[in-house]
Amino acid sequence: MCQAVRRPGVTAVVSSRGYKGDAPDDNKADLIEIPLPPWMEKTDEPVDIKRRRLLYESRKRGMLENCILLSLFAKRYLNTMTASQLQQYDRLINEPSNDWDIYYWATEAQPTPEVYQGEVMEMLKEFTKNKNHEQRLDAPSLEYLEKEAQ
């Protein structure tokens, strides 16, 4: 394959959470020294608007794993959540600054901080385990909302 000879070898030693021993220690100095404005809950938002907002915010995440996981989770649970569950979910997906953290907590790769522990976190963890071995090929299209509305 003459192209292989011409092309540079790009065998990358990709650092990823799945490759231990390669990632040096993290002192999290930026999180301590550069505090971001605190997340504010929207107290006077009607429940149906909140559901619509959380649907958008579940589907549009920082990386693919969360996009798929949270949009499937939202499809299953968002429309039947109570007001207090919605509040918990809102905090869970909007307050943490690093999207990977939400993924690690859901997959139980890292312990969930106390402030996010609760009913909704348990639901998410259980959902993530995928006990029914469902194929999670992609985020669902929005058809299900249309069907539910009918």
Partner: protein
């Protein structure tokens, strides 16, 4: 640039048309609402000019940045630091931009692990780009790299350290010393495994101290262009459905890539090429769209990246016959051959009918022959990801994988200063008021193929370059050039048309057709006939956008509408990509043509040489014949 003009000529015939006004019965009625404006700027006013059905708020800024990822935040921060009244319009909260997914690092020739020189990095990048990269831009990027990393570190980014306290640098693919002759270089600076997140956090936090105005969850619809000059952006506020026009002397586009045009990609669902589409609708060209980088192992369907480390630990790729097929394609390196070789091998296996699954359209990555302790210790993340997204237990079954779209080298053409350029009458001309940086731009530092860890560097250097160029050429508080009061009307009309669209094809159907079309016709291996077929198919799918159907008629947090707008943007990117791929009749970097294996430059050289040699030898033969005759006589 022939590719560019062909694609843009094609598209100029298909600009989305203005529609007739929506009948009164369909209008929801004027709802009163409350909207809040970030920052202390009091210069926002409601305008009645465009449409009474969509209340429009006008803002005036010195600069507006579209996109709040690594490049957008760096540009916004640089501009605010220089004293410009800056707005940053983003459809996502800044720390949720796709940059957060980056876990690799930033390449810079700091020389902390061994002696290093930016010229070696320059050589590696030029060679990695298959000599298509713009050497001015690459020179700028690699020379500025150490300064850019040190600057980030001064802003507070906690890079990982060596024992002596210097920034720790690790090895990464494609980086060498002494122009490729000195072995592996260690140039990649990282913040543990969250470099992307740390970059976003640091830049966002710092920019707030300079009073940048963030318009979060505002979807940018179009550029406000007048007389070939960019005068701002028009955007939809998702929270209350109002339209906002951001007038500014300088607009920076940093909207990221367009991986979502393909069925299988590693990008989040937010990578929809919004900036590229905005520029296309403004009548400007895009560059190098055919260069799409494929990573060999993404989970089939989901597209989540399975790190190369799996194969490094002993994982193997197998086909439907259970054969370790890489042994045939790369007898020595086998499964650890370079990314493009592995991607091509996998694609050949699938094309020849040895794919797995009901549609025989992917291959398997087998890990269950490895000891479970090794899997748990060295590759824990893989087990989780495989279970969650493929429903597969890696200790018992293989993971379905497919070469997956990972990065877009192409985008909005800029010079090394970040200014967007247009190519007219054979010359490059700067578009006044418009800049681009990051994955959305094509400076081009990555050319035909990107090296790992160069992308985060690209974001930071060119985000900074845009800010510096604007600061050099403009002053804060400059008077804005006049803009027609009806600017942006077409965008609002399009929005309205989509919101009440009642055809017969759902957004998700058209999107799936486009994605499957691209995956089948413009994937790893490309052939003329398949590409031509694909161009026609994508054309039809593009036309089918006229029959789109949306179901959500609301205007507040209308996800269906936003996804339809994103689909419009994706379509423009897809059509340009496949047409460019069909036009480029050579194999270069990530663009591999089965029917044009050798570059035409090389074949032209050979044919010229042969022709010359032949002519010369004929001449000598005739001369010798004459001399012989003379001698004889």
């Amino acid at each position: 640039m022939a590719t560019v003009s062909a694609a843009s000529r094609l598209l100029s015939k298909r600009v989305l048309s203005n529609t007739k006004a929506v009948p009164a019965a369909a209008v929801q009625g004027y709802r009163s609402f409350h909207f809040s404006i970030y920052g202390k700027k009091k210069n926002a006013k409601v305008a009645d000019d465009i449409s009474t059905q969509y209340p429009v708020v006008d803002h005036e800024f010195d600069a507006v940045v579209v996109g709040a990822g690594g490049a957008g935040l760096r540009a916004a921060f640089g501009l605010s630091e220089a004293g410009f009244n800056t707005a940053c319009v983003t459809k996502l909260f800044p720390t949720r931009s796709h940059t957060v997914a980056a876990q690799g690092g930033i390449n810079a020739a700091l020389g902390n692990m061994e002696e290093d020189d930016w010229r070696w990095h320059f050589y590696d990048t030029v060679k990695g780009s298959d000599w298509l990269g713009d050497q001015d831009a690459i020179h700028y990027m690699t020379e500025q790299a150490p300064a850019a990393v040190v600057e980030l570190e001064n802003f507070g980014m906690p890079f990982s350290r060596t024992e002596e306290g210097k920034i720790y640098q690790r090895a990464f693919g494609g980086q060498s010393l002494k122009y490729g002759k000195g072995g592996q270089a260690h140039r990649c600076c990282c913040v543990a495994d969250r470099t992307g997140h740390s970059l976003l956090h640091t830049l966002y936090g710092r920019s707030l101290r300079y009073d940048t105005s963030y318009f979060v969850e505002y979807f940018a619809l179009d550029l406000l262009m007048e007389d070939g000059e960019c005068k701002g952006v028009i955007a939809l506020c998702m929270e209350d459905g109002s339209i906002h026009r951001f007038r500014a002397q300088n607009t920076v586009i940093a909207t990221g890539g367009y991986g979502r045009t393909y069925f299988s990609c590693t990008s989040a669902h937010t990578s929809t090429g919004d900036g590229n589409a905005m520029v296309t609708r403004a009548g400007l060209p895009c560059q190098d769209m055919e260069f799409v980088q494929f990573h060999p192992t993404g989970i089939y369907g989901a597209g989540c990246l399975i790190t190369e480390g799996c194969r490094g630990e002993g994982g193997i790729l197998i086909n439907s016959e259970g054969e370790r097929f890489m042994e045939r394609y790369a007898p020595n390196a086998k499964d650890l051959a370079s990314r493009d070789v592995v991607s091509r091998s996998m694609t050949i296996e699938i094309r020849e009918g040895r794919g797995v699954g009901p549609e025989k359209d992917h291959v398997y990555l087998q890990l269950h022959h490895l000891p479970p302790q090794q899997l748990a210790a060295r590759l824990p993340g893989i087990s989780e990801t495989a279970m969650i997204f493929a429903g597969v237990d890696v200790t018992k079954e293989p993971i379905p994988v497919l070469p997956t779209v990972h990065y877009n080298m192409g985008g909005i053409p800029t010079n090394y200063k970040g200014q967007v350029i247009d190519h007219t009458n054979g010359e490059d001309k700067v578009v006044p008021g418009l800049y681009a940086c990051g994955e959305a731009a094509c400076a081009s530092v990555h050319g035909a193929n990107r090296l790992g860890a160069n992308s985060l560097l690209d974001l930071v250097v060119f985000g900074r370059a845009c800010a510096l160029t604007i600061a050099e050429e403009h002053k804060p508080g400059e008077k804005l050039s006049p803009l027609k009061s009806s600017a942006g009307e077409a965008s609002v009309a399009n929005l309205d048309k989509l919101r009440f669209a009642n055809g017969n094809l759902r957004t998700s159907e058209i999107r799936l057709n486009m994605q499957k079309g691209m995956q089948n016709h413009a994937a790893v291996f490309r052939t003329g006939s398949v590409l031509k077929e694909g161009c026609d198919k994508l054309d039809d799918i593009y036309q089918s956008m006229e029959k789109i159907k949306t179901f959500d008629r609301g205007i507040v947090w209308n996800t269906d509408l936003v996804e339809s707008l994103e689909l419009q943007n994706l379509m423009l990117n897809a059509v340009q990509t496949i047409n460019s791929a069909e036009q480029r009749k050579e194999s270069r970097g990530a663009h591999a043509r089965e029917d044009f294996k050798v570059s035409p430059q090389i074949s032209k050289f050979f044919s010229y040489t042969c022709e010359t040699l032949f002519t010369r030898s004929l001449f000598i033969f005739i001369l010798s014949f004459f001399f012989e005759n003379l001698l004889v006589s």
